[in-house]
Structure formats: C-alpha cells, structure tokens
Symmetry: C2
Subunit: 768 residues, 2 copies
C-alpha cells in the first residue's frame, strides 16, 4: 500500500507543534489544528487572512443546505438531492496593518513561526514575528479555543508585542459570511439582519434551501482599544480600531464570540436575533481567562480519567492522545441532533455526513468514555426515525431504512448503488442499540426509544429480504461494507447482522412482555405491530442464509465469492492507488479483492460466537485479499491479529492508526481529519492490544504488548467505575480508580476487579 | 402484461388510413405517418403548422450534436458525454392563409379529414376541407414522399380546390431551422449562410458541438404562382406568394427539396453551399411526377420480390406490410455511415442510437431482403472500429469493445451500468459477421474487414474475461441482454456467444492461413497479432463456463440465478407496468423475473446445437419468468414456441408483433416507431411460422400455421435466388421465383428447390 509517513510535526506527548511555516503543508495544518466542541468547529486557518491557498472552514453542527444530485436518468427510489454541512461564517476574521501594510503570510516577512495544539487544555496558539517593509518588527500571538462547557462560545486572543518600535497598529475584527463552500464553489448565505446592540456586534446569516439561520455576535475586550468604528457590508459586520503599541510592552485584545444556530426554517429572524443576543449577553460577560479556565477544567477531567499511555513509542503516544482529543471535541453528547461526521467539523469532504461508522466504530469509544454521549448518538437515530420510515417506503419496503450518509436523517448519498444497496447500515443501528444496552444496562432508553428502532429495522429487513427457492431467507441485490462488490446476494456480514438483530429484537420483545408490558403495549400499538410479524422474523432468523464452506469453515463473503477470479493484490503497482481513480468500476468489482473485511468484521463484533480456529482460518483467507482502501480496515485486521497472536501483523496494521492525519498518510488530510478512523485507533488499542471483548456476558480481556512498547495503559468507564488497565512486558494490572468493582474474564478466567488491583502475568504467547 | 390494442386506423392490406382528425392521437399519427429513405426522415407532422401539441421531427441520418451526461461522481471509463441524432430543419414548412385567417387544425373549422400512407408507393397524402370564418371552403390535398432513389430529395405537393369561392390564397413556403430538439428543450442550430441562387432558395444550418452542416434548398414548381417574395430570418428562408384560385378548379404547387449533410466538422461553409447547390440544381430539375415514378418503381420492385402475405388475418396482413415498409425505408444500404436507430428516423427517443439489435434482429431481414445493405451494416461497424478500440482501452481492456448505444461509434449510453457491463454487444457484432458470411459466402468482406473485427473482439473478450479459481474461463461483473440482472457473473448468453465467436475467429484464421495467407499476413501484421493470443483464445473457448444444471439440462442464466427468489410475475398488478417507472431498481433486480430471455435467445441463434428436448425444458423454465419489458422479447418466445409445437403460445406471443405501433400497444408510439422491434415481426413470421433456421449447413424449414390463418407466404433472397414459401392448412410449397435452385432441409429431409416447386404436406403436429 502506498502509505508512507509524512513526518513533519514535532513529536511531543501532550501537544502538536509546528515549527516554521510551510506553504505546501498549509492546508494539512489547517486540518490538524482544527478545533471543535460538537456545536461548532473551525479549521486552523489564519485569523488575519491569507492570500495563499486555504480553506476558511467554519461549521455549525447540523447546519446544512442542499443541492440536486446529478443523475443520468430518473429511477424510482433514488435520492435526487443531497443535504450537506455548509461552510458558515469566519468569526475569527481579523485584519492587521502597520503603515498600510496588511499582515499576510503569503506576502510579508515572517520569522520564528510556531503553532501549537495543546491537548491538555484544547487551545491552538500561534506566534511569529512580522517585520514590515517599513522595518518594524512585531511579535504576534494568537490563541483560540471553542469552549467545551459553553458550546456557543468561541474565544480569540491576539497579543501584540513590538520588538523594535512604538506606534500604531490598525485592526479590523469582524464576522464575515462571505466564505464560499469550496466544493460547490458557492456562497450559500444571505444576511437578513446585522447591527450593534449593548456592545455586541452581530449578524445573522440565512442559508439557501434549508433556511437555517446562524446568529453570530462578538464583544471585544481590551484595555488597549480606545475608539472603534462599525463597518457593515452585505455579508459582513465588524469593528475597525487602532492600538498604540509600545516597545517592550504587550498589548492584547480578546474577541468573545457567540454562535447560535436556529435549524427551524420557519423561525422569524427577529426571534433568532433575540435568542442570539440573549446568549451573547450572558456568555460574553465572561472574561477570556474565566472561559479558558472552565474549558481547561473540562479537559483536565478527561485526561485524569480516560488517558491512554504508551511508554517506549512517543509517536503513538502523541498519536493516540491526538485521537482521544479529536473524539471528545467532535462529539460529547451536547445535543442529540448532532452526530459525528466522517470528517467531524474539520472540512467539507464527505459533506459533514454521518455514516454507519458512528454505531460500529465511534459508539464503543463513547460507551466507555462518555456513556451519556453514546446514548445521545442513538437518540439521534430515534429523532431521525421518521426519515428512515419514509426512506424505506421510497424503497418499496416497510419499517425503517437508515440512510447511507446523512446530515439530517434523509438519504444524501449521491451514488445510488451505495445508498440503495448498503442495507447493512440499518443493521448497524440495531447493533449499536444492542451494544450500548448490553454494556450500560440502559433499559430506560431501550424501552422508550431503542425497541421502536429495533422493531422498525426488523420490519425493514423482513420486507427487503426474500425466501430462496430452497426455503431459506436472505438478502438479494445488496452491497456489504466491502464496496468492491456491488449487487451481490447474501452478503455474509449483512445476513449475520440481520439474523442477530432479528434475534435480539425478539429477545427484547419477550423481556418487555414480562417486565414492562405497558411499555410494550405502547410501542406495539404505536407502530401497529402484528404478532405474525414476530413469528415471521423468528423463522427468517432461523432460516437465514449464512454462506460458509463447511469443509474449511471459511465464511463466503457473498454467494459466489469463492468462485471469483483471484487477484494478487501485491501485483498492483503503487501508482495505481487509490484504485477508484485509476481502475474502471467493472475492473475493481470483478475479483476476489476486497476493500475492507466483511467477514472479519462480524467475527470481531460477535467474537464469542466463533472459535479461535475459525477466526484464524478466516483471517488467513481474507487478509491477503484485502486492499484496505477504507481507512477503517487496518484496525479490524490489527485487532484480529492481536487476538490470534500474530503480534507483528497486529503492530504493522496498527501502523498509521493513531497518526493517519498527523503524518498525512492518505495524502488527503488537507480536506479534513479522518474522524471516524480516529475512533478505530482507540478501538485498536483497547480491543486490539488490550484484547477487550464486549459481546460476552462480562467484559473480557486478553492483553498483549507490541515488541516496541515498554508498557501501555488505558482507562474505561464501565458500570460507573473507572477501570485502569496497565500492561507491560511481564504483567497486566487491572484496577478500578473509582466506583464499584468490576467482573471481568481475563485470559479466560473470571475476576472481580477493585481498587486493590489484580496483577496477572502475561502468558508467553501474549508478548513478543 | 398491460398491452391492449388501440385500434384506430383503417385495416387495409396496402395502406394505413386515418379517417377524421383526433387531437389526442395526433402525436401517434405523426409517428405512424413518418417517412424516411435512410438518408433522411420526417415525421407525419402537418406541413402548414399546428398550434396544438406536436413534434416537428425531421432528421438526417448520422447528423448529431452532443451533451454531457450528468453523473453523481467521476469514475474512470464511464462515458461522460452523449452524442445524439439532433432534430434538424422543417423543410416542409408551409403557411396558408385566406382573408388573413391562417390554416391551423387547432383553431380552424376542418372536415372530411383523411390521411393515408400508401405502402405500394411510399407516399403520405392528406386531404380535408377547410371552411374559413369568412365562410369560404377550400379542399386541400398534401402529398409528400422521400425519394428511395435520389436520397437527398424530398417532395411535397399541395393541391388547392376551392369548393364555393374564387379568390386569393396566401402562402409561405420555406426552410425553417428553428424547431427545437424537444427532449433537450433546445435548438442546436446556427445558420451561417442562406440565399437564393438560380431559382433555388437555400439555407445552411450548422449544429452545435459536432459542427455538422446541413444544406437545404428548394425550388417551387407551379403554374399558379405569379410572383414570389423572398423572406429571410435568422434561421429561416422562404418564399411568400399568392395563388388566385377558381371555384371548381384545382391549383397546385410542388416543392422539390434537396437536403445534404456534411458531417465533417472542418468543411468550409462555402464548400458545403457549393455541393448542396450542385445537387439541388440536378435533382430539382426533375418534375414531381418523374421523381414519384422513380420512387414508385423502387417500391414496386420491393413488393414484387419480397412481400409477405397472410390470408385470413387482415390486421396482421396490414401489420406485416407496414413492418416491411418501415425496414426498407429506414435502411437500404445507401451509405455505410448510416445504421438503424431503435426508432429509425421517426423520433428523438433513444437518441437515434444504434444498439446490438442491428446485428441480432435487423441483420437477418437485410440478409434475406437486401444482402448489400446487410454488408453495409457490418461495414458501419468496421468504420467505427477505431472508436471501439478506444473504448476498450478506456475500459482497461484490449481489442475492440463496441458501444451499447451510439450514433457515430462512440459510447453514448447515459447509464454506465448498461454501457460498461453489457459486453455481449461486442459478441453480437461478431455474431452478425458470422451470420452474414455464413449465408452470403461473402469472404471478400470477411477477409478484408470482418476478420479484423473478429480478431479485435476476441482480443477484447480475452482481456475482459478472467480465469476462475478452478481453472475455467468466464466473464465477471457483466450484464446480459436481460437487463433485470446487473453485475452478474458468467451470464450464460454472453459466455456462449464469446465461446462460439472465439471458435469462429479461430476457424476463420485457419481458413485464411490456407486460402488467403497474404491477406492474413496483412491483417495480423496490421493489428500485431501474436500466435500466443490465438492459443489463449482456444483454451478460453474450451474452458468457457456455461452455467447449466446437468441433471435437468436447464441453462442457468448466470451464476446463482437458480437460487434467486422466485416471483410470480402474474401477481404484479397491471398498473405497475412499466416496472422501471414503478419499482425501485433493487426490487426489479432481485428476483428470478427476467426482462427478456437470454437462454432462449442463444438457443435460437445456435438452434442446431440444442435438442428439441433441451429447448423445450428451457422454454418451459424461462417463459413463466419473463416479463417481456423489452419489445424484442415476445418474438423470440413465439419463434421457440412455434418450433416446439406450442402453436397457441406462438400465435399469442406473435400477438402485437406486426401492430405494436399501428395499435400503439406500448402507449409510446407518439415518441417514434419501434423500428428494431419491427424487424422482430419479420423474423417472427419467417423464423417462427416459417420455421426457418439459418445456423446449419443449409437453410432449414419447419413451417407451421396459426389456426386463424388460411395461408401465408413469404419470399427471401438467398444465394441470388428468390425463394417463395407458401403455407396453408395442408401444404407447404417451396419454389424459386428466380435464380438458381436452393438446397434446403424441410421437416428434417433434404430437398433441392427450383422453379418447379415442391409441395410438402404439413405434418399433423405443425398445424392446429
């Protein structure tokens, strides 16, 4: 695979540091130094403007517009419009001039550049010295953060420190709705209201099509500013002012910004203005320091409780902390209308869309780090159940068909053979419910929301599936997670998932009938559930086709897969990757080459259902056929390899998991971070080297340690306890940091873990 | 199936007559009364204009423009632009006024309307009486034809006969380039030159994108016209004049029009003008009568030699003559740059594109009616071989991949999963060559052009196919003619065709090495043929996967077809047809329901390779699964049913073959005629009831007669002889009308047929 590190940033355990400015690397750094707080996100672009290539990306979660999907033909049930997260306003907008020379990295004389993402407190700072053509040198420091506590609040501090002069610096600071949405080459905003009230300068932008309104208002705090002048343009409002700086003295000003989105297309602009102003009045009353201290406290709590340490591997130490940081800042359960986009809030690519990655890759992280957020992610699916019901109907089906990619619950996948065929997505929603409820015991959620989704997904599967001529049940004309095979029958992953979820749904029904009959009556009445449907699902589950060669024990990825022409994937020249750009679709689709491993994925999800021998055979069969063109693929291989004692392979597949973006392995980090792949890195350590499995009755562990590492540790929240696991070359130590004791199975033996800890020697085959 | 006759036109053996004008039926009649002569075609629209709904369709064969194909995504090797036959000028343009009231069927008082297509002489005439609001009644007769002899020539005669007045009639007659291409809602023409020279009024239109230029010039001939005034507009040129009519006397004027297309985008307009004017000078020197008499002689010859008669079934008698007429007028081998579009030259639908229907459905008609035209159709493929070589390369393949749908040899199919997966199209080209050469013995064509196509198609198949893990050869990720199953592996039809064509190619190579080594050296040098390739093709043919259940002898349409869920096609409500409009694609694709019969098709093409028992079993298996959503499908069933002695079924499937358009069965004749389906009607009689098979060493016949028919007869050109076959309830009579005697196998016994004729009693099982 054509993936090699592009090591550029400083390796440091608690920060990401860029020394010196690189024009070529600028877009990548914008992504790396992105900040977000679930409510909003902003790329690490330069506050003061930059006439070089950049992506002024600033997003509010769930704020979208829409565009038609070009289609060569009109077919029934094919999505014809896509809704996508639209680039909003540049609220960091600043312009700085001295002697009429405007600060611009593309044109000015800059030295001593340093940019830093501080993982401990979630700030991005940047400092450099600017020497003007008039010969004046000014040191500037920019600091920004998006409050993890007050999620409407973004803070910017700019410090000016003249090195060799005293004099005037001219500044503009404003709110700018003119940035374009780059992929659509268009600005989607009109600004129906702007103005200054009670010291707050504010503007409202209204998005095309959706009618979503974004209020943004700011207050400047500084001892150095005397007079300000209000400047208004069509899509801009700001203040102009001057600062008299003195050599050897720092002058600074803080911009406290409140962004507030109203996603109801009918709200009166005056009402949005009022709500925005109220919020702004409250939040900008805080000082920068106070806001930062609340924000820092949030991060301190995160790191105290849920850090991962790796001794002996500083690159991965930094990498995994960067991942953990991204996951927390992208989503922490602030609002069930939000979800995790494939690139978080760090770029336009993938349109801010949520995929099934949320339930399969991200949810485990949240279950074990922020269970309330995990629930919120599932509540998002409940909130969008009406759209899933509609989408199923459009597919000539019943129940709920969850979208392949979406920002608001409507199918927005532009490529119909993905959007319409990847029915496993709905199974992933049920799987997420199963996994969450199993690990949290949250029957309140299950009985009030989860069960309804389970029933509607089962209904969908029942209507989408068919009985084969020999009386078995399966799914025809589908695509599995492995998107290198389209229009297949009986994708093994899809069928296993549907069978398991039929069974789980029926289990929940039985349980509810006994323990919560009223609630069951409620839901079954609401959705007009017929007991015949339940009988049907039972026999579908029992008769489900699970393609498998009984002689070898190898699962067949789909009907006929074993008879596909074989391709030696190592024969593909490096320059032909990514294949989608270099090969025609029929060429990609006609071999046994897979993009990501469907069979290994379900053997990981339902690990207890399969023997080690079975996993080994399937791993050894599928691994050489997998091209990993999905960034989610290597981690699954690493996790399985670790379980199977293939320690070298496990470490190799872990390779770029934590540093996919830091080292720009895929050469596309400039478009935004691979946020859902970041979740896979966490899983790779906890489920891979930690050997955790969560599909049994109790937590299961079977840790191992890569040769390079001296030790590693991770912590998880489980059953109101914080469990710490530390593994070194000799021992694995399990201890609760807080909360009740935890029952777990370690290397096949049951233990009760409490704050005293248990020290278990690593078996010889679990280390290298 | 939701197909019922819409019987509207008069049933007559030699004409199609419409009595009375129907607004609702107007678009359908425009199609039915279309005329063409291969070089050009014109719909039966009203010469004098009509403010109601109409499609002023006037086409020149192969004159196209292009438009981008909307795609949701850019994939390698997917066609991104489509070239389509563009609507050209209205050269019949006429406007007629009396007392400032303009003749318009939508507004005027019209009675005694009659429109007639005369099949004997290929004219369309129309007469009616117009009573003006000023109370004057004028009888008008319009006659038009497109010369089958001088293919640039179109003739229009308009006869005015005042019933109750004498006075002035104002007329405009011109050439109008303003009609829009309706499906694109756009006019694609600019007119770089127009004017009047030597009594010829002319204009040139230049098409967008292609730069094709169309010259049109006309001369008016009349004793009744005194002065004319030239009128020029941006895209129009014409003459205005008045005719003084006298009660009881006919006045008339003839418009002799020459259309001439230059399809070289670089030709100077002045040069086109000169060529056009030269042609116009020559052809318009002819009188209307002379031109008509040459034209009529052409048709007389056609009907004398190649008529089909059906006694006892006037509807089908009329229907089959309509079909024969359409095939001759659409294409008769005038120019190898032309081909047969799915709708001929009668409408915009299917974009004037040629499909594989040409080689599989139309070619047999031409082989047995106009072998020189058959050769020209294959020469068209040779002329477009360079485009097929390019298209293969774009598909990451070698050799020649012929396009799914095209006007100029480039792939213009807007739906990539058809365009890129239906590789059987290339096999159909080779099949056409095989069939043509087998029946005509034209080795001159084979050795100079055919063999090169055969070799390049074999090369394509070799590169597109793959070896399966068990050492067999097949085609993966394809679509067969049955478009209800996409992305299948080893489509049986495709594999059979490829195997046969590999074998035929190798046979031709062996034969050429012996009998024409120089020519073989030529071609193999030109295309750098390697003898290893030939060895490869041999082993591919030998190892070709032909999916078949050996126990039952039923061929499996593709890998896994037998295990698809069964759908009772009779359970589909009538109002859900056509399925493409009412069902989602994954719903259409996931059953054993087929659109048209792949297996039966190859059992028909290569009839001698299969036993009657084999055909019977496969017919009985596939027939109930076929929904006939292709208009080419029923005829294949009818032909097989006739062979198998299922006479009722044979007649039922023949049902709407000859009258598909006359009775508007598909409710879309308004878009144009189903020209390639019309060819299937001819095959249905000759191969079906005539029981002819042409894949053996000699012609084979096994006639049968439908219960309703008293007798039927058909004639074919074969080996320079005209063979007449007449079948009644008791006997089948075979006789040559001209030329040498013909060897044939009739009911399994060999005969030599000459002008004395052979009378063979029909076996009991060949009649009802």
């Amino acid at each position: 695979m054509a993936k090699v590190a592009d090591r550029y940033l400083e390796v440091d355990p608690w920060s990401v540091v860029e020394n010196g400015f690189s024009v070529e690397r600028s877009r990548v750094s914008e992504s790396i130094f992105s900040l977000s707080n679930e409510y909003m996100g902003v790329r690490g672009y330069f506050d003061e403007g930059y006439s070089g290539e950049r992506l002024v990306g600033s997003y509010l979660n769930g704020v979208y517009t829409e565009a038609p999907i070009p289609q060569p033909n009109i077919y029934k049930g094919v999505a014809n419009k896509t809704r996508f997260m639209v680039n909003t306003l540049d609220w960091l907008y600043t312009r700085i001039s001295i002697d009429r020379e405007q600060l611009d990295f593309a044109k000015c004389n800059i030295k001593d550049f340093m940019r830093k993402l501080d993982l401990k407190n979630g700030t991005v700072s940047r400092e450099f010295v600017w020497t003007t053509s008039s010969g004046k040198s000014l040191k500037l420091t920019f600091i920004r953060f998006l409050s993890m506590v007050d999620s409407n609040l973004g803070c910017q501090r700019i410090v000016l420190e003249p090195v060799d002069f005293s004099g005037r610096v001219d500044v503009q600071s404003g709110l700018d709705f003119t940035p374009i949405h780059v992929s659509e080459k268009k600005n989607f905003w009109e600004c129906p209201k702007k103005g200054r009230e009670n010291g707050i300068t504010a503007i409202i932008g209204k998005a095309e099509k959706s009618g979503h309104q974004v209020f943004s208002g700011f207050k400047l705090c500084s001892d150095s500013i005397a007079d300000t002048r209000l400047v208004e343009e069509e899509k801009y409002i700001g203040l102009e002012f001057s600062i008299e700086v003195k050599q050897g003295t720092k002058a600074s000003f803080d911009k406290m910004v409140v962004n507030y989105a109203d996603k109801n297309s009918n709200t009166d602009t005056a009402k949005v203005w009022e709500s925005g102003m109220n919020l702004a009045g409250k939040l900008t009353a805080m000082s920068f320091e106070d806001a930062l201290s609340k924000h820092t406290a949030y991060w301190t709590d995160v790191w105290n409780n849920l850090d991962i340490t790796i001794e002996g591997d500083p690159e991965n130490q930094q990498g995994i902390r960067f991942c953990i940081f991204q996951l927390h800042q992208t989503y922490h359960g602030f609002d069930a209308s939000n979800n995790v986009g494939a690139k978080g809030l760090t770029g336009e690519a993938y349109s801010g869309h949520t995929f099934w990655d949320t339930e399969t890759y991200c949810l485990p992280f949240y279950i074990f780090n922020n269970p309330a957020a995990a629930r919120k992610l599932l509540e998002y699916r409940y909130k969008t159940l009406p759209q899933a019901l509609d989408w199923a109907k459009e597919q000539d089906c019943k129940g709920a068909c969850y979208p392949m990619s979406t920002i608001d619950g409507t199918e927005s996948c532009g490529v119909w053979w993905h959007g319409n065929l990847e029915i496993h997505v709905s199974g992933a929603i049920s799987y997420g419910i199963w996994h969450y409820v199993k690990l949290t015991g949250d029957t309140e959620f299950l009985y009030s929301q989860g069960v309804e989704m389970l029933l509607q997904v089962s209904r969908f599967f029942a209507s989408r599936g068919n009985w084969s001529p020999d009386g078995k049940f399966g799914f025809y004309g589908v695509m599995g997670p492995d998107e290198f095979h389209t229009f297949v029958n009986n994708n093994c992953y899809t069928n296993v998932l549907a069978k398991k979820m039929f069974e789980y749904t029926l289990e929940v029904v039985e349980e509810m009938k006994k323990t919560a009959p009223g609630k069951f009556e409620d839901v079954s009445g609401r959705i007009s559930l017929d007991s015949k449907e339940l009988d049907g699902w039972k026999s579908m589950a029992q008769s489900m086709i699970i393609p498998c060669d009984e002689k070898t024990g190898i699962y067949e990825q789909h009907d006929g897969y074993f008879m596909l022409p074989h391709l030696d994937i190592h024969s593909i020249p490096v320059e032909e990757f990514p294949l989608y750009h270099h090969w025609t679709l029929p060429r990609i689709y006609r071999y046994d080459m897979i993009k990501q491993p469907d069979v290994l994925l379900f053997m990981f999800f339902f690990s207890q259902d399969y023997s080690m021998v079975g996993k080994l055979k399937n791993y050894e069969y599928y691994e050489p056929r997998c091209i990993h063109e999905s960034s989610l693929s290597p981690s699954v291989h690493s996790i399985l390899a670790a379980e199977l004692g293939k320690h070298d392979e496990a470490y190799n597949f872990f390779g770029f998991a934590t540093r996919l973006d830091l080292d720009n392995y895929n050469r596309n980090t400039g478009e935004g971070l691979h946020t859902t792949s970041i979740a896979a890195a966490w899983m790779n350590i906890v489920y891979g080297f930690g050997g955790m499995r969560t599909d049994g009755g109790k937590l299961i562990f079977s840790p191992s340690i890569p040769e390079k590492w001296k030790s590693f540790s991770f912590r998880i929240l489980y059953n109101n306890a914080v469990l710490s696991v530390t593994v070194d070359k000799d021992n694995a130590v399990f201890r609760t940091i807080s909360g009740p004791s935890i029952e777990a199975v370690i290397f096949g033996r049951g233990y009760s873990i409490d704050s005293n800890g248990i020290n278990i020697p690593l078996p010889a085959d679990r280390k290298q």
